[in-house]
Every structure is written in structure tokens, then in C-alpha cells.
Amino acid sequence: MAVLKAGSRLKSAVCSSELMVVVAPAEDVTLTCGGAPVIELGADAPAGGEVDADHKNGTQMGKRYTNEAGDIEILCTKPGEGSLASGGTALEIKGAKPLPSSD
């Protein structure tokens, strides 16, 4: 299980998803992708892992994922088949109205 620290880079243990922590939760929670705890970006994924059928909604590049409380925020930097959950609760895409370009 990787440490969740703002700015740290993570990846899924069971799909191609790569992630960055934007907002780290104050307390220890288990972040999963595809049903399996995420690992450090540089770590080797254990062999034979598969995406759990209940965590198969995928991650989309450039989207930020958060929970209802907003105390965790994860950016997808590379997409994959697995979807994200924090402490067993699925994370949702942070809906933001696109802003007009200002620079």
C-alpha cells in the first residue's frame, strides 16, 4: 500500500491507470484501483492481478476523482480499466464547469 501524500505519483496494481494525489486525506485510508490497493509509480505490480468486476468503470485521463466529503482528490494521469475507491467507497469525477480560457 502506497503512502497518500499530496503530489505523490501512484499506479494501479491491476490495470494501466496512473495517478497523482492532489488532496491527501488527513487519515489513513486504503485507495484502490480496480479493487486492489494502489502502489507507488515505480513499484512492480504483482503478477496475475485482475480488475475486480465491481471496480471496472475505468479511469479517464485528466479527470479528478473525489469523494462526497471532498477530503481526497486523485488526478488520473494515464487511463485504465479499473475504477477508484477510497475506504471501499467509489470515487466520483469531480464535476467542474469548464472556465473560459484566460491566458
Binding site: G7, M61, T77, A96, P98, S102
Partner: protein
């Protein structure tokens, strides 16, 4: 967090798209990534701790921005209008480091700074060499990944110094990445979108424009030397869809287009402006000339990593169409804070929050707000608020109106007055084209109000007439005791009125 992560995502998702274009030369996102990696390898020589660039926009600029981030070295774009002695004082703060500049300057500056020993040196090379080295066949990329440390300094920007010696604002990786993530949609641009960049690299909008464009996947066309004619021609030839200009640029563009018969810019979907006060007449004329263009007014500071408040296209249309004076006035506001930014208006003396409609100091808070100068530390208070030292107020709808720098406030007999308020009244006079109000020393009141005005052609209002004009509309204490008539007012190249120069000129007159 690191700006390189944003470029890595761009190269991964749309590496073949053109990222930057300058004349006939261009760089795709993948080429930019590779060049940044090669520059990072070159910078990782164990002694270079700063990368400074003193040149106009070129393809080397984005390579330098991202290459420096990869190498973990702060990037400092310098103002190429500075004199050599002024530059020396900046370079003193960038040692040990590397300066990249044009050929003429490289020859002139090289010997002097290279003569220093040990840690006190700045090596000098040319912009062309940086780009060709980073793009050379077989150039190897830095092997070590970039740091993910959020506190690393990404960019050092010397503030424009309208009020004193330049200070280096520190923008850390976390500030710039937060700004991009909070305000730009990844790959939000259409493949055919192109934005025209004419803001100099040493301006925060120039830096923010580079990182925003990369994350949105938009092609950036660099226009290093702004002229209204070139801007219009390039925008038409290249089907430019987005552009950002400062008020003086838009004013010149409007002047040129008014002379044309078919003054259309049908492909220009979005025109953003900021960096100074936009005269209402200019924006109204521009909206008439570009009926198909969406306008966005952006307000931000170097210390806030660019934009913190926006007046969007819908706000512009609503204000233009409204019969309600309060809504119509919003056309000269800077709109509403970004969703990721909090704004609080505070009393000048007590720094307690004031009610809507009341004037005060603008305080801001958010992840992108740095509020830090090198050698001086963070100016954020314990709760993370930054005092912009800009004056202003929020209206009932939460729209932010600016009233100039608090350092420019005139204190007459204990009464604080904002020059902007008096200037606005002068500008409503039909004979006045431009106005600058400052405080001048006064034995009785401490300070007295002085106005320097530029009259329109064929108009010659007298000083007495203008004094009466202000007196009829504001309190008598705000009536200028002295009125001077000038041919033009001094502005810096990004459209900021140089009040210091006006102040000095009036003092020298005495």
C-alpha cells in the same frame, strides 16, 4: 507535483499535435517533451542552480520552462528592456546559474559575469544554441525522473517594479500545477484550435499561457513583437481561435480595425484581456467590431500564479444588453473569483472584512496563491490570506471591481481617496482621453490631489472646467488642486500606467 507531469500527460495523449509555432518552425508535444529532457540532462551538471532567459518568445522558451522543472532548477524569464546595470542586479540573485540570451547580448554580457569565480558565476549562451542542443539528434534525455516535491521552485518572476527595485516572486510547483488543474480542462481544446501569444515571457500571463496551453492541448502561435497589424494578419492567416491581450494592445487593434471596411475576425472565438485597466469605450468598440467573439476579462497577479477572477463571455453579453446601470457597470469589473479562489474585502486600517459595496483592500486565498518573494519569505497570514494591496469592492452579485494599488492611495487631511475614482470621473468628460491622478506633497493637508490629463483632438477643456466637473460629481476634497495637460501618459510595455514617473515629473516641475 511538477509541471513536467502536465507535459508528460500531453505528450502521452496527443504527442503528434503541434504545441508551439514560431514563424515556419514548430514543436510537437512529443518533441517538446524530448527537448525538455535533453535540456534537463544538460542542466544537471551539479552546479547550475538557476536558468535565466533574456529574450523574446521563441520555441526555446517552453523548452526552458519545462526543462528547468525536470532538472529541478528555477526558471527566471528576464525583461529584455532592462539596462545592463539593472540586469546585473538581477543576475546577482541568480547565481550560480546559466543565462540564455540573444547573440548580441551574449557577446556583451558574457565576459563580465563569467569573470566571477566559484559559486558566483553565471555562464552565458545563446537562445539558438539552447534550442539546437536540446533538439540535436541523439541528445539523451535526463535519466532521473523529475522531482514530485511540491515545494520546489518552478519559476522566479521579477515583478515589474512600478514602485521600486524588482523583487523575485517565487512560484512553486504546487502553485502553478494547482492553477492549471483548477482552471484548465485536460485536452479541452479542439485539435484545430490555435492561440496567439503576444505577451512577453517575463509577464505572468506569458508563463501561465504556456502551461495552460500544454494541458488543454492547444497550439500556441508565438508573436514575439506585437504590432496591431501583425496581430490581425497572423490571427486571420492562422485561423486563430483564442488570444490574450493587454488593454493597450486591444486599443491599438481596435484603432486599426476601425479603418478597415470588412473588419471581421470570424474565427476568433475567444479574446481574453487583462494586465491593466480596460477603458469602457475600448471594450465596447471591440465587442461591436467582433460580434462573434466571446470576451473574457481576467484579473490576477504575479504572486497569485495568474488569473484569480474572471468576467466571462456571458457576463459581457449580459452587461452590454442590460438597462440596469448596476449590471451594465459590470463590464468594467473583473468578474467573479475562480471556484478555487476566495476573495475578501478588508478595511484599510483594521483589516476587518467589510460589507458588499464597501471599498477596501482585496485579500485572496487559494492553492495557487504564492505571496512569496525571494529572501523575504511568505507574505500570507496565518489563515493563508494574501493582501494584494489592490483596492476594490464586491457588488451585491459578487462581482469584483478594482480601484488601483493601495500604495497609490492619496491621503488628504486624514481622508483616504483612490486615484481610480477621480480618474473615472475625469474620463467621463467628453474632452478627456486619458487621466492620471496622484497625490503631491502639501503643507496644509499632507497630500493634495493632482491630475495629469490628455485631451482629445479638437477638445480643450480648461483646468477650471475639469475641477468643476469633478466637484459636481464627487466630494470637494477630491477636486484636483492642480491640473496638468500632457501629450500622453507613460505606460510600461504591458499597459501598466507608470504613476511613479508622473509623480517624479511633477516633483521636478516644482
Amino acid at each position: 507535483m511538477n509541471l513536467m507531469m502536465l507535459l508528460e500527460m500531453a505528450a502521452g495523449a496527443y504527442g503528434d499535435r503541434v504545441a508551439f509555432q514560431n514563424g515556419s518552425e514548430s514543436l510537437t508535444y512529443q518533441e517538446l517533451f524530448d527537448a525538455a529532457g535533453a535540456l534537463a540532462a544538460d542542466l544537471s551538471d551539479g552546479r547550475t542552480q538557476h536558468l535565466a532567459m533574456l529574450d523574446e518568445s521563441s520555441l526555446a522558451l517552453p523548452v526552458a520552462v519545462f526543462g528547468a522543472s525536470w532538472a529541478g532548477v528555477p526558471f527566471a524569464p528576464l525583461n529584455y528592456r532592462l539596462t545592463d546595470p539593472e540586469l546585473d542586479s538581477l543576475l546577482d540573485q541568480l547565481q550560480p546559474g546559466r543565462l540564455v540570451t540573444d547573440e548580441e547580448r551574449a557577446g556583451r554580457l558574457g565576459a563580465r559575469v563569467d569573470a566571477n569565480e566559484g559559486d558566483h558565476y553565471v555562464s552565458v549562451s545563446t537562445t539558438d544554441d539552447l534550442l539546437s542542443g536540446a533538439r540535436a539528434d541523439g541528445a539523451s534525455l535526463r535519466e532521473e525522473p523529475w522531482s514530485t516535491e511540491m515545494e520546489d521552485t518552478a519559476i522566479l518572476l521579477f515583478t515589474s517594479g512600478t514602485t521600486g527595485a524588482p523583487k523575485a516572486a517565487v512560484l512553486r510547483q504546487k502553485h502553478l500545477v494547482s492553477y492549471v488543474l483548477g482552471s484548465v480542462e485536460f485536452m479541452g481544446a479542439d485539435e484545430n484550435d490555435a492561440s496567439l501569444s503576444c505577451v512577453p515571457p517575463y509577464h505572468i500571463a506569458g508563463m501561465a499561457g504556456i502551461v495552460s496551453a500544454v494541458y488543454s492541448g492547444r497550439r500556441v502561435i508565438q508573436l514575439p513583437k506585437f504590432t496591431a497589424e501583425d496581430w490581425i494578419a497572423t490571427a486571420r492567416e492562422q485561423n486563430v481561435s483564442h488570444a490574450m491581450v493587454v488593454p493597450t494592445m486591444l486599443s491599438r487593434i481596435v484603432d486599426v480595425l476601425e479603418e478597415e471596411k470588412d473588419a471581421g475576425m470570424p474565427n476568433l472565438r475567444n479574446l481574453a484581456y487583462g494586465g491593466g485597466k480596460m477603458p469602457q469605450s475600448v471594450i465596447e468598440k471591440a465587442m461591436e467590431l467582433f460580434p462573434d467573439t466571446s470576451f473574457t476579462n481576467a484579473y490576477g497577479l504575479t504572486e497569485t500564479s495568474s488569473t484569480i477572477s474572471l468576467l466571462g463571455p456571458d457576463d459581457h453579453r449580459e452587461a452590454m444588453a442590460s438597462a440596469d446601470e448596476a449590471v451594465r457597470r459590470r463590464l468594467v469589473s473583473v468578474g467573479q473569483p475562480l471556484p478555487t479562489i476566495e476573495v475578501s474585502i478588508r478595511d484599510v486600517d483594521t483589516e476587518e472584512p467589510v460589507a458588499a459595496g464597501e471599498r477596501g483592500l482585496i485579500f485572496v486565498r487559494g492553492e495557487q496563491v504564492s505571496g512569496e518573494y525571494r529572501g523575504k519569505g511568505s507574505l500570507l497570514d496565518a489563515e493563508g490570506w494574501f493582501n494584494t494591496r489592490d483596492g476594490g469592492y464586491l457588488d451585491e452579485g459578487g462581482y469584483l471591481f478594482l480601484e488601483g494599488r493601495m500604495d497609490d492611495v492619496i491621503v488628504r487631511g486624514g481622508e483616504n481617496m483612490s486615484p481610480g475614482e477621480i480618474e473615472d470621473v475625469l474620463l467621463t468628460h467628453v474632452g478627456i482621453q486619458d487621466a492620471c491622478v496622484i497625490g503631491i506633497p502639501d503643507e496644509q493637508w499632507g497630500e493634495a490631489v493632482a491630475a495629469v490629463v490628455v485631451t482629445r483632438k479638437d477638445a480643450a477643456p480648461s483646468a477650471a472646467e475639469l475641477q468643476q466637473w469633478v466637484k459636481d460629481r464627487l466630494r470637494s476634497s477630491r477636486t484636483p488642486e492642480r491640473v496638468e495637460f500632457w501629450e500622453e501618459l507613460p505606460y510600461n510595455e504591458t499597459g501598466k500606467l507608470l504613476r511613479r514617473e508622473v509623480r517624479e515629473a511633477l516633483r521636478d516641475d516644482d
